[in-house]
Structure formats: C-alpha cells, structure tokens
Point group: C2
Chain length 203, copies 2
C-alpha cells in the first residue's frame, strides 16, 4: 500500500532521503529530518532570538477553481504547482538582504546541476547586481554534510552547462564553499558562515 | 449571473474597486487596475531596468489532497488559503532589504486598521529591528491617491487599537507619509520616495 505525505505526495521508503544508514547510531546529525525542516527550525531560532528575519516563501500555486461553501472557509478545488521564479528563502540580517536556495542530493562525490533551473540562476544574478548576499545551501544527505556556496560559484558552474557540465564536483564545493557545522539548536547555523565571509571583510 | 475571476472569486460589479467614477475621463490614474497589478507592473519594470529585485510572495496555501494523473501534471484537489505570516512584498535595493504590504480602501477620509493583522505588524517590527526598510503602500482607490507610510507610523497607530483606534485618519497619512506620483511606466514609482527618505539621510 502506498504511504502518502499529508500533501498527497507518495512516500517512497526505498528512495526516501530520510533513510537511516544501517549501522549508524541516531545522532544529532542523522535524525531523519529533511533539509527544509532543518532550515525552518533554524530560521525560527534566528527569529525568536532576534538574530535575523528569514522566511521560506510559500509554494507557488496556480489556482483554477475555488468553492465557497456557506458558513465555512473557501476550498480550493483545482490548482497546479507552478515553477518558482525566485529562490525559496530570503530575508534580512543586519540590514543586508539575504537570499538563498537549499537542495540536497544522495550523490556522494558531486552535486547535480539539475537541482537548479534557469529562473533561479537568473534571480541570483539579479540579487548580486543589487549587492544582496546570494548563496546556496547544499546537503550531501548520505553523510549529512552541509555546505554554503556563494552564488558566484554556482553561477559559474551553471553557465558551463552548455559545454555539457552536469554537476559540481564535491571537491570544488569543499574548495569554494564552507562546511556548516551541524548543531542541535539551531541545526544549520549558516549565519555563522555569513558573518565570517560577508561581514568581516567589509568592516 | 455571477461573473467570476479566474481564481473563482465572485466579481461584484457594484462593489468593485475598479468602478469608474461617472464623470471622470479615462486617464493614467484611473485605468481600473488593482493596486496589486500596478505594483507587479512596477516591480517588473524595476527588475527589467536592473533598478531593484522585488517580488510579491506567492499566496500561502495549505495543501490537503493532490492527485497524480498518469502522463499529466499533479492536480491539487483540496487546499485552503492560509493567513500570511509576513508581508506580501520583499526584495533588495542597493544592498538594503525592503519589505512592504500594500492595501487599498474605498474610504475617503481614513484607512481602516483591519486591513492589517497582528502577524504582519509583528513582522514589520522584526524587520525594523534588523535594520531593514519596512513600509506600507496605501491607496485611496476612489481618488487614486497612493501613499508610502513608514512602518514605524503604522505600528504606532496599530498599537493604539487596544485603546479603541479603528483607523488612521487620512490627514495623518498625508502628514507622516509621502504621496507617490502615479505614472505610466512604472505606475507606482515608490523607489523614488525610498531614495529621498532612506538613502539621502544616510549618505
């Protein structure tokens, strides 16, 4: 029998990114949370501690039909998922605009570029032109390693797609990016990296 | 017969905010566009001209049921509108974080505070604490006057709700806010105000 997420998506136990590695203990770094859940928890922590105001944008949906039953809330009866024209996360930190996308892979040695699409890359270029801070958070889920990579590098690799590049080597991510230490609360303290990379230089 | 918007909402010709004033010529300032359409057009102009990167966030929707027909796109069959936890618009301008909500009223002499809710006011406070630029764009639709009011003032008025304040007088909006000149392209050039109010002082 198919198990389904609350949103109706099929849960595939074989393919699930949350699959526990057989011989690994349950630790902070492997509690079966998705990258999105970890980042929501992290952003909630930042908000509560008045460190930053960063939110995930709602999933864009094209609404086609809505019913208005008497005495109850409007029900959307037909709608479709739309491709996002921007990245998923943005907000403000110490007056600066922050903008990022977060993706995970089960690959071990490279990160597939198909995780991103043209609109998002274009958006990151525009944000950089406005002097915003744009980056991606990349997770290698089998080893639970999370990297922050400035959009500048992602854009360079992405623009090599036409010359048949399909992925970024993990070596390059290690080289150009920054490993984010996984913690308990917050889980993915990416602002620590932002501080050292984007604010130290400037002050 | 009820006329409906593409999203299913009922179109009320009597009550429509787009109603033309009887004796008024069709001018730039009265083309029957909603504030949202005008702002989307304006933000598109800013984006194309590389002036700023500002987007409206998608409407937040709680998805309950999704169908996956073979050979075609996933269809959302049951979903509900959620209250937004933030404002509708944000983005980056000259490195700074911009955040605003836009509302219109058919009142002539005051702007009802019920257009805003606690979450949004709380969000604006948080953005201000992070040194972001937070404001509201308020339109008096019968006269097509559009004002930019810093969130600081909205917050002050809103916090008087407990002492039974229900609206902001138009006089106060004129006094504390800035009238935005309505144009053709872009329609609502709010960044001109942002420039003179937030950037001149600082430099």
């Amino acid at each position: 029998m198919a198990i389904r997420y609350p949103n109706g998506r099929r849960f595939n136990q074989q393919k699930s990114q949350n699959k526990k590695l057989p011989s690994k203990e349950l630790t902070y770094s492997n509690r079966g949370m998705t990258l999105e859940e970890d980042l929501n928890e992290t952003n909630q922590f930042y908000l509560e501690q008045s460190i930053a105001v960063i939110h995930k944008k709602p999933t864009p949906v094209q609404i086609v039909q809505v019913d208005y039953p008497k005495r109850s809330a409007a029900v959307i009866k037909e709608a479709y998922f739309k491709q996002a024209s921007t990245t998923d996360y943005n907000g403000v930190y110490k007056g600066r605009y922050l903008d990022f996308e977060a993706k995970e892979t089960k690959n071990k040695t490279s990160f597939p570029l198909q995780n991103f699409h043209d609109h998002q890359i274009e958006h990151m270029k525009q944000v950089r032109n406005q002097n915003g801070i744009a980056f991606v958070i990349l997770r290698f889920s089998l080893t639970d390693e999370v990297y922050l990579l400035d959009a500048k590098h992602l854009i360079e690799f992405y623009d090599q797609k036409e010359s048949s590049r399909k992925s970024i080597r993990k070596l390059d991510i290690e080289n150009f990016g920054f490993l984010i230490k996984i913690g308990y609360h917050p889980r993915i303290d990416y602002l620590r990296i932002i501080d050292s990379v984007y604010f130290q230089k400037e002050s």
